[in-house]
């Protein structure tokens, strides 16, 4: 009964879906990105209840569940909270390895800011100070900050 299975050639079908999306950044996110693009400024926002400063700026505080209206300009500098150095390649990565993903606590912010470090990878340590390097051609996206560098 099951003998035929021995001779079966297991076939596959190739497929790929590439669906274009246009994500609306929203008013709050748009102001944040426009400030990166036009003024090389990093904007956060402060929760009126818990006082936490979020970056990128948020429209509301997730924990207190209240609207946020106060904008805070942050220094483009902070300390490395945690990081990893990536050694493997994948088409989805923003730059070629090796590079570091780092959570950076910007001065005046209460949450980490996720970004890249491309230089001095052998010198990285938690607690070291880094500053944002803006890219020359800015189009209103998070990578308008090219990366962070050791101060």
């Amino acid at each position: 009964m099951s003998d035929w299975r021995k001779d079966v050639e297991p076939l596959t079908l190739k497929g790929q879906i590439a669906i274009p999306y246009t994500w609306h950044v929203g008013d709050v996110g748009s102001r944040f990105l426009a400030a990166l693009r036009d003024e090389k400024k990093i904007l956060g926002s402060r929760c009126p209840e818990c006082g936490k400063v979020f970056v990128p700026a948020r429209k509301n505080c997730g924990a207190c569940f209240v609207d946020i209206s106060e904008w805070v300009e942050l220094k483009p500098e902070g300390v490395i909270e945690a990081y990893t150095i990536v050694h493997y390649s994948h088409p989805i990565q923003p730059v070629k390895p090796p590079f570091a993903y780092a959570l950076i606590k910007l001065d005046g912010a209460d949450v980490g800011f996720l970004h890249l470090i491309k230089k001095d990878l052998d010198k990285l340590k938690n607690g070291l100070r880094v500053k944002a390097e803006f890219s020359g051609e800015r189009t209103g996206k998070i990578l308008d900050i090219d990366s962070f560098e050791l101060v």
Binding site: R5, V8, P10, T12, G15, I17, Y21, W23, V25, G29, F54, V55, P56, G62, E81, A82, Y83, T84, I85, V86, H87, Y88, H90, I92, Q93, P94, Y101, A102, L103, D110, V111, G112, F113, L114, H115, L116, N126, K141, I142, L143
Partner: protein, 386 residues
């Protein structure tokens, strides 16, 4: 309070890297028929079905309907639940809610994945916020690697400490005929494997598997008649956090969602000292470092003590609290089924059906699920009706 509910049957496939011989729904059917056989029930006995896999993996959106021939849910109430890495545990918990509500007596839960059919990293990245976090943190590895470096710096744990978790789980897998990777891996092997994102090496991370898992849950009164030793739900807990990697994951605080979910579950189950009162744990540990840091978040040992706790073989088979007798996620990872396998393996232990991987006289079992931006499911099962 809802009705009391127990697991009365489990089934799973023999997990492999590729299953070219079956489609997803044919693979699902293997797990479902095996669970029905385990519970000695027929498909007509099932009142409702909950199914789940990870979105974007097989490019099938309507798996509730797609899977009908495999799940046996034709003309039955079926719902798809998908929560990323936790999917399998969430499906089990949703099935528990179904039965506990009083609306359904016997509920079938199914989790599956054919990781071989897609690009895992390309699919996993869709759990990151498309505007803010998707440009970076590609796939699962970098965020976990960042967590691991923070833990290393905080407590001085070494790469060898973490590798012992991998050696343990891969050794345990040798007792599990269903496990995908059935070749032992030593600390030395893991240390010699290629570096992916420091400190995660190839040997530290879970594989991609094809497989399915099914469980049958029954309400109080029916469960006792269906199984000689049902695995009773003592507690379930679900905790989700923000997707912002920068503020949901203050790595130095630990895995907050796992701390809160486990504390709530212990309280509901009346457990004061988990390491003494639990007999076995099936934990969603997708990489070796989780076997150190997260067992601290689960309160199984103190902060910074995990390396010694694991090093002293407390979590090996025969130890104080064996972790992952099945071989865990490091040995088998069919993502939509992975977290359900934790719950099902916990049930198998409580029901005394573990064969070579059985922990003797296991009464209370802990199972966890973990997902992408650091969220957590916790389930506690017991042979004792709560």
């Amino acid at each position: 309070m809802g009705r009391k509910v127990a697991v009365v049957g489990t089934g799973q496939t023999y997990h492999r890297s590729h299953r070219p011989d079956v489609t997803s729904r044919e693979m699902i059917r293997e797990a479902v028929t095996s669970a029905l056989a385990d519970a000695d029930l027929k498909i007509k006995d099932i009142d409702a079905v909950v199914i789940g896999n990870m979105d974007h993996f097989e490019s099938i959106n309507y798996v509730d309907t797609y899977s009908i021939e495999g799940s046996g849910a034709f003309m039955k109430p079926i719902m798809k639940v998908s929560t990323g890495g936790t999917t399998g545990a969430t499906v089990a918990i949703a099935a528990y809610y179904h039965a506990a509500s009083g609306l359904f007596d016997r509920v079938l839960a199914v989790g599956f994945e054919k990781n071989s059919e897609s690009d895992t990293t390309g699919a996993i990245i869709t759990c990151s916020d498309p505007i803010w976090d998707r440009f970076s943190y590609s796939g699962a590895i970098p965020s976990l690697a960042t967590e691991a470096t923070a833990y290393m710096e905080q407590y001085g744990a070494t790469q060898e400490d973490a590798a012992l978790v991998g050696e343990r789980d891969r050794n345990h897998a040798l007792n599990n005929p269903y496990a995908h990777l059935q070749r032992p891996l030593t600390v030395k092997d893991i240390m010699a494997s290629p570096m992916l994102a420091y400190p995660i090496k190839l040997g530290d991370i879970c594989p991609r598997s094809d497989g399915a898992c099914a469980m049958i849950l029954a309400a109080d009164g029916i469960a006792q008649k269906t199984a000689s030793r049902p695995a009773w739900f003592k507690a379930v807990s679900v905790r989700h956090t923000y997707t912002w990697f920068g503020d949901s994951t203050d790595y130095n605080k630990g895995l907050v969602s796992m701390q809160q979910a486990s504390q709530e579950a212990y309280a509901r189950a009346g457990i004061r000292s988990p390491v003494d009162e639990l007999d076995v744990a099936e934990l969603y540990l997708p990489y070796t470092w989780a076997g150190l840091k997260w067992i601290e978040d689960l309160g199984l040992c103190g902060r910074g003590e995990a390396a010694r706790f694991v090093g002293d073989k407390n979590t090996h088979m025969g130890g104080k609290l064996p972790i992952n007798p099945s071989g865990g996620v490091i040995s088998t990872n069919c993502i939509g089924a992975t977290a359900m396998l934790r719950v099902a393996e916990a049930a198998i232990q409580v029901m005394g059906k573990g064969g070579k991987r059985q922990v003797p006289e296991a009464k209370n079992a802990l199972a966890t699920g973990f997902g992408g931006c650091f969220w957590t499911d916790v389930v506690i099962l017991s042979s004792e009706r709560p």
